[in-house]
Symmetry: C2
Subunit: 423 residues, 2 copies
């Protein structure tokens, strides 16, 4: 008998009939002989409705109270899902995040899990109950206040519970069949990956793939929790996210996992910065003051005659206005001529653990972009990823060209991509 | 500086604008120089909506899960009220029942408070915050599960917090101006009482007065917490519920506090019961098995020739069918001829602490009923109350007749009723 942790998001429990469908699925897993722990999000529209109420009574809702409010959402979905399972004649109990022992930092609205003490959950499964746990929430031990985990919080709850309980698998149920070699809306021939490594998934997620958030993958990687991303609308196998050596057969690994894209970033270019030690530090201290995360950075070779250079960086477009205002406020300290803002950029990333041992990947990547007439504005690389920034309107062409160049399309031979990389 | 505990019910926080109005009122109390703790119910329709969802996913929702579900309601109202207060520039913090230290029995759906450990609330008010506490809920210490307190739960939460914190007053905000000498819908000349004793309020509440539930009054009496029942729609003084000797001037006490009525009961008559020791015990053991509360009991003088008697009792009509079914199931053990059920009865009660020391009250009461042509079916008395059961359709006439006979109408002299009782 194995222990399975399952995660269902808000769209899977959007109303009473959806909840009953999910209950049926959970009961089937239990009846197949597994112990089952479930992390669940708030019902579809609940969070939006609660946010609307908060904005109706307050111009600036305090984060602690916002967490008190929003955590009502999972309390409701958790209780209802447990009732629906009990109605099918199977024993189940609901637990809040604090009851499940999800201990977090105190950052309301974006807390991070620092420990999981799943004593009550372990007891529930030892007593043959299905444990239904409110996702997205935890408790800060010093204040004993409830916290929320921010974006991807329920996925992270599920993986953290799986790690703490030593589960055999963490199944993330979603509205797609798994992780694809590219977004099927852009590349209709994109292929579902049967397996991807934590590192690849991390880079895909950080590069714009929406199916999992990086923090959840990072948590799974650290505790070596196998994730199975699959559809809540079908019974077919999805994508396994596992460690590279899990099967002891690296020969089976593909060179390239997939092509990710991201339209959510903007580019800021600071022109005429003195090319002396400390310039970049001052600029990025300013950006940090505005609490913005930076992605890619490029610094030009400075002009000999002026001793000035330009620095460009990308960041989430949502942070753009804030960063820009801070840079303009600190103009005197940074010392630059002008600053430019561009939110019509797109980023394409090629990700694959096999890159490490394969030459020619970059050449093929840039050739594909050239042939598609895509101009490159910025480049960044890691050992398993190449990313470039281009014009937003060229991004779909770029994704299709690269996907095709690396023979990722489902009509073409898998064998070319998988295996035989000589590692 | 005094400590004020306030209670607001679901209709006082029915939507965003109502919440903002209540926030304003709370802030005014704080700005008048008091420390303020507030117990609040779920927003108007929330509980009904949650119950509807529960019934949509389950034919028989388990009580533990029902409590998990319903307690989301106060979590929402509490957080929103706190946000609205903060928006007015005043410091406030929300707390769930468990966070406020409300310890209860484990009876989900109808838990009783067994202790309050208000450490976090005391700390909050010491630090000059307004503490907003979710009413109607607590925690069972052994299971660490959340519980709900059942009917009147938020009133009881408020009084329990006031007792534990040593508050100067517990203000219960409602949609009427206070406690009246009779229901103003039946007796338009009914007068608002400025003061009533715990004992009188207990008997009024137990006799059908809706403004407070008995358990809340009982809690206040035990810990000597002054209750001020008042309207959330006006600033006028309401009714104080206090101990008899609170002011050290019993001369001021009225003989009669008021006339209560109740249409929610039914009468069961068991005919032809052997008049031997143990008969009544067997009957009421049967009713107890069905988990029904009994109000009045009358046993006829038995007929000499048969040695049989009839026993009548009243109980909440909502329990009637259940009790009847159990009595019919246990017919052989109880040993009776037949059983009759009547849910067209009404009960009128006259309540007043002054009765203890005044003769002639009963005579005047029965004379008033006789003059109004009201037939009496059952009688029960305590030292400060007389109740009779009559036909439901005669109840309004009975209330008006008694109210008038004891000169409780507001157009008549208060002096006749208040004071001068020679005690």
């Amino acid at each position: 008998m194995s222990l399975v942790v399952q995660k269902y998001g808000g769209s899977s429990v959007s109303d009473a009939s959806a909840i009953k469908r999910v209950a049926q699925r959970i009961v089937e897993t239990k009846r197949a002989g597994h112990s089952v722990v479930v992390a669940v999000s708030a019902m579809g529209d609940t969070t939006d409705e609660l946010l609307e109420l908060a904005n109706a009574v307050s111009s600036d809702p305090p984060p602690r109270e916002m967490d008190m409010l929003l955590t009502a959402g999972e309390r409701i979905s958790t209780a209802l899902l447990t009732m629906a399972i009990r109605d099918l004649g199977v024993s189940a109990q609901s637990f809040t995040g604090p009851q499940a022992g999800v201990i977090t930092t105190e950052h309301h609205g974006r807390a991070r899990i620092i420990d999981v003490t799943p004593g009550r959950i372990q007891k529930a499964i030892d007593e043959d109950h299905i444990a239904i746990v409110a996702g997205f929430q935890g408790i800060h031990e010093d204040t004993q206040d409830v916290t929320t985990l921010g974006r991807g919080g329920t996925d992270t709850t599920a993986v953290a519970l799986a790690a703490a309980l030593g589960a055999d698998v963490c199944e993330i149920y979603t509205d797609v069949d798994g992780v694809f070699t590219a977004d099927p809306r852009i590349v209709p021939t994109a292929r579902k990956l049967s397996r991807v490594t934590y590192e690849e998934m991390l880079d895909l997620a950080a590069s714009g793939a929406k199916v999992l958030v990086p923090r959840c993958v990072e948590y799974a990687r650290r505790y070596n929790v196998p994730i199975h991303v699959r559809s809540s609308f079908s019974a077919i196998e999805g994508t396994w996210v596992v460690s590279e050596t899990k099967d002891g057969d690296p020969m089976e690994d593909p060179i390239i996992a997939g092509v990710a894209h991201d339209r959510s970033e903007a580019k800021i270019t600071v022109i005429g910065v003195p090319d002396v030690p400390g310039s970049a530090a001052r600029l990025f201290e300013t950006v940090a003051k505005a609490d913005c995360n930076i992605d890619m950075i490029v610094q030009n070779v400075s002009a000999v005659e002026t001793g000035l250079t330009d620095i460009s960086f990308t960041l989430p477009a949502a942070d753009g206005t804030r960063a820009l205002a801070q840079i303009e406020a600190d103009k005197a300290e940074i010392g630059y001529d002008e600053v430019a803002y561009d939110d019509t950029i797109g980023k394409i990333s090629l990700v694959g653990a096999g890159m490490r041992n394969n030459s020619g990947i970059s050449a093929k990547f840039f050739a594909a972009l050239r042939d598609a007439g895509v101009n490159i504005e910025m480049i960044s690389t890691s050992d398993i990823r190449i990313s470039v920034v281009t014009r937003s309107e060229k991004l779909d062409d770029a994704v299709r060209a690269v996907h095709s160049a690396f023979e990722l399309d489902s009509s073409e031979g898998e064998a070319v991509v998988y295996g035989g990389t000589g590692r």
